[in-house]
């Protein structure tokens, strides 16, 4: 700004930016820390489980939790960016199993190498994402309708490719993807954490993070301002397809089989983590760190309840209750945020009438 247009700037005057009043600032802090609130809830939950079961807070169990949340977490990175932008991808689970079906078919039926199979699987995921992105972002089709169609269609395609037969036995090298360790940490966990950090960079440090927020908050205004309101969601859908395929391959490697049970319920788990983390479903606001905590919250909950030998129904109930809390918190923050700011009225009056303001302290 200053480099381009230096004309017309007056010399600096005394700063006149004033502190905002009470409730609204508190609300701002609270909203920023909803993810913080979830973090506290996560700590409390972990503490609770460590009391209930001596096996919760062991290194091996914590690594198991990380392994278990990695795939959901990986898919939730582009998934949450889509929700932030005001879009959604419900096809992730089915695209992941489609990629797995392609992989299994390529390697075991067409006798291609593992590398070719992986490339084909990722291409299938990216290709489906491309179709999603084109229909939704460029042709303005409804995201829910299109990706719900993908939820059914991609799985149907997977069943057609495999004829319901599960291919097995992909060798030890491929097995490293799901079962290997890097410095003692499961490979899927490493991949997830690295990509999460990259996601944080995009979300918080790069302009495109603000652009996504703008698109989600007010698409028309964003477009009027020249934000890539079509290009950004399109790219995100492709990323979502890629992540789904990668997640599917990880699971396939863990099972050493292109099982059609892969990906069932994935879209629900991803969306739950995203909403728990405080990304508003309508878009325009949210924290990626919150999504991380949301992913771990659900993972810890599921793991802890199995350790305690409590049935799965209780886990679903617990997640439902926490989601309701997250929703009411979001509504609460929005009301608080909308309250008007009280600026120092004396100074404002002085500015309008041009009289000099008294210095503080007389």
């Amino acid at each position: 700004m200053t480099a381009r247009r230096t004309k017309g700037r007056l010399p600096l005057q005394a700063p006149q930016i004033l502190p905002a009043g009470g409730a609204r600032q508190v609300a701002g802090r609270l909203a920023a820390y909803q993810s913080g609130g979830l973090f506290v809830a996560l700590i409390l939950l972990s503490f609770f489980f460590s009391l209930q079961s001596g096996n919760f807070f062991t290194r091996s169990n914590l690594l198991v939790v990380l392994l278990q949340v990695s795939i959901v977490g990986l898919v939730a990175i582009p998934g949450s960016m889509l929700v932030l932008s005001g879009y959604v991808d419900l096809s992730v689970g089915s695209v992941s199993v489609l990629a797995v079906a392609v992989f299994g078919d390529m390697v075991k039926v067409d006798h291609q190498s593992i590398a070719v199979g992986i490339v084909a699987a990722l291409a299938a995921g990216a290709g489906w994402g491309l179709m999603n992105g084109f229909l939704i972002s460029y042709l303005d089709f409804s995201p829910i309708v299109v990706t719900l169609g993908g939820y059914a269609g991609a799985r149907g395609a997977a069943e057609a490719i495999t004829h319901d037969v599960t291919q097995f036995g992909f060798g030890n090298a491929f097995g490293e993807l799901g079962n290997g360790l890097v410095l003692g940490i499961p490979v899927p966990g490493v991949i997830f954490l690295v990509l999460f950090l990259a996601g944080c960079y995009v979300w918080y440090a790069m302009p495109v993070g603000r652009h996504m927020t703008a698109i989600g908050a007010d698409k028309a205004a964003a477009r009027a301002l020249g934000v890539g309101a079509r290009r950004i969601p399109f790219v995100l859908y492709v990323m979502s397809g890629l992540a789904s395929a990668a997640g599917g391959l990880m699971f396939c490697s863990e099972l050493d089989g292109a099982s059609l049970s892969i990906g069932i319920g994935l879209e629900l788990q991803v969306l739950t983590a995203i909403l728990l983390g405080g990304v508003a479903f309508s878009g325009g606001r949210g924290s990626l760190w919150g999504v991380l905590f949301g992913v771990f919250f659900v993972g810890v909950l599921n793991n802890g309840l199995v350790l305690m030998n409590v049935g799965p129904y209780f886990a679903n109930l617990a997640v439902g209750i926490v989601l309701v809390f997250a929703a009411s918190a979001d509504a609460f923050y929005r009301r608080l945020e909308g309250m008007p700011v009280r600026v120092d009225e004396i100074k404002e009056q002085a500015e309008l009438t041009g009289t000099p303001t008294p210095e503080p302290g007389g």
Binding site: R5, P15, I17, L18, G28, A205, T213, D218, V343, L352
Partner: protein, 264 residues
């Protein structure tokens, strides 16, 4: 005297049709640096169409647009922006969930510091905040802290942000479409006094409003549109009355279209 300042924006014989309807008919207009031109007219007179043409959202069927004496052809709003024309839209085009400095810098973010951060597209948030603070200072704008989300600002404050955004980027031509519509008294004051300060910066302003009091207060010149034609264009004097403006707007009185004449 305003007439000594250079003409920053000029439109000549601009015509725009929408199907059978002619929205603008051979309209001429000049805006000088440091001058506020009030554009008034009834609904359908063509005010918004003219603004859209000047800001690059629409292309004229006939006529020419000059910026700083040079003829320009805008294909979209970014061309107009590149030429130094900024628009404060009627609906402000602010993103409520972003804060003040994020809104001002949206789509024009500063990346840095240093070549590595620039290549990695890392936003230089500190520099952007500082620039916005300095901009507000120099404009005498009083606002809550920069990290405040725009959703929490009052209508007048949002206007100020939108206007400041336009000014900080545009710096020499700003179009304002109904900037004080639906604002309370105090908030309107904030906006109008900002407009007055902008003149001191040498900004050429086109100010569209239905409110005669506002127009009379801030404008140096007034142009009146009636059914797509300019029917009056004169310098505002002490005796200019709102009732006369209304008569021109509604066609009850014929106007003098020749340039720069003050009404007695």
């Amino acid at each position: 005297m305003a007439t000594e300042h250079p003409v920053v924006l000029e439109v000549q014989e601009v015509t725009k049709r929408f199907g059978p309807v002619t929205a603008l008919r051979e309209v001429d207009l000049q805006i000088r640096a440091g001058e506020v031109v009030g554009l008034i007219g009834d609904n359908g007179a063509g005010k918004s169409t003219l603004v859209n043409i000047v800001c690059g959202a629409l292309r004229p069927d006939e006529g020419r647009v000059f910026v700083d004496g040079e003829q320009r052809h805008f294909t979209d709003p970014s061309d107009a922006r590149a030429a130094g024309i900024e628009t404060v839209f009627q609906n402000l085009a602010l993103i409520p969930t972003l804060n003040i400095w994020e809104n001002i810098y949206l789509r024009r973010e500063d990346c840095g510091p240093g070549p590595v951060a620039h290549a990695l597209r890392r936003m230089n948030k500190r520099a952007m905040r500082r620039h916005v603070e300095e901009g507000f200072e120099s404009l005498g704008v009083t606002l809550p802290p920069l990290r405040t989300k725009v959703a929490a600002l009052s209508g007048g404050q949002r206007q100020q942000v939108a206007v400041t955004r336009a000014v900080l980027w545009g710096s020499h031509i700003v179009l304002m479409d109904e900037p004080a519509a639906a604002l309370g008294v105090r908030q309107t004051e904030l906006v109008l006094s900002l407009v007055t300060r902008l003149k001191a910066h040498g900004v050429g302003l086109l100010f569209i409003s239905h409110n005669m009091q506002h127009v009379l207060r801030v404008s140096d010149r007034i142009a009146v549109l009636f059914l797509g034609r300019k029917v009056a264009d004169f310098a505002v004097g002490e005796a200019t009355k709102a009732s006369e403006l209304v008569a021109l707007m509604t066609g009850a009185a014929a106007g003098d279209v020749s340039a720069a004449k003050a009404l007695p």
